[in-house]
Symmetry: C2
Subunit: 204 residues, 2 copies
């Protein structure tokens, strides 16, 4: 930050912490730290407090694993949604992405991660048993897998499929292929290859 060693330990620490956020480099972190330094004390305390409360006080919906301030989440409680369809995703982030499309009206099930032996995450660490409990109730007719196509994502989907297949539900997966508006020239070979293999009836 300073060319010579002039800085303050408190400032360095705050910059280090801010720079640990995704997409925040040290220059931006310094700008943010200097901004906070100019703010009134109460504002900074409120700012910091809201982050700690977010992390410590937020609850998970006992049904789907979504964040929820209290008990069953508003998505699970929304009677306008199709309670017979459940979309399985890795995280809340994915729920927000799918909600933004406006194309899905079923419920969700958030695993809270994917099976990753390297990171020491096994099936027992994920929100899988509650999914089986939901399926055992017999009201769900379709499970839509919306997991990533990484090795971990595929492993998780396969494991889930084995667990789910004992229930009388249809298991589907989101369509993979060349994105709308994408040039074939710039599409990776795997995606393009699969999109040819999985070609669909033409709908004019």
């Amino acid at each position: 930050m300073f060319r010579r060693n002039y800085s303050s330990a408190l400032l360095e620490e705050a910059v280090d912490q801010l720079a640990s956020l995704p997409g925040v480099g040290r220059r931006t972190a310094l700008r943010l730290a200097l901004h906070l330094l100019d703010e009134p004390r109460e504002n900074v305390e409120q700012f910091a407090g809201s982050l700690v409360r977010l992390r410590n006080d937020i609850r998970r919906c006992p049904v789907c694993g979504m964040i929820s301030d209290d008990g069953v989440c508003p998505v699970c409680n929304d009677t306008r949604r199709d309670a017979a369809t459940v979309c399985v995703v890795e995280s809340l982030r994915d729920v927000l992405s799918i909600e933004n499309t406006g194309q899905y009206n079923g419920l969700y099930h958030i695993l809270g991660g994917i099976i990753s032996p390297i990171d020491g995450i096994g099936p027992g660490d994920l929100n899988i048993q509650p999914l089986c409990d939901r399926l055992a109730q017999g009201r769900i007719t379709e499970v839509v897998m919306a997991l990533s196509t990484s090795m971990e994502g595929e492993t998780t989907a396969y494991y889930l499929y084995k667990q789910i297949s004992r229930f009388p539900v249809k298991v589907s997966a989101i369509a993979r292929g060349v994105g709308f508006g994408d040039d074939l020239e710039y599409t990776d070979e795997l995606t393009l290859g699969r999109s040819i293999t999985n070609r669909q009836p033409f709908k004019p």
Copy 2:
């Protein structure tokens, strides 16, 4: 965030707070909040704590107003620097910018703001008296004004000049003109006009 009203009050609050940072929009704020949500509790508490400590525990150098963990700041204490020259700036940000040039080896004086009647900031709210005290000691021979060219900056510079002129010091100001590498075509008229009026002897 959600198209329908599904969100959590805690998440909304954290996103609001993060979005109040300069250069952080609501999308980025949401990304940061979700990141913090996935972090271990201790990390989030440490993160928040470092920001509160930065704001509450940081001290100002009694000589120049620079941030300082304890007593006189390292810049004022650095015997390798030219203690006869003092550069007057608005904020710590400006000190960092000037230090980054590597072209200045004197000391600083941080006003902590500029005179701005609209914001209710008068001369008494700024770190001006300590500058007079420094000058009264008689070791400073030059004061370099490095304030902004806004109306408030000019007002502050003029006020300072009146206060300083009773001391036997040279008062200078940083050079204004067309930036290095800038096209004349895209330089604003005021800057270009002043750069012609204040033309300097050509040094081949």
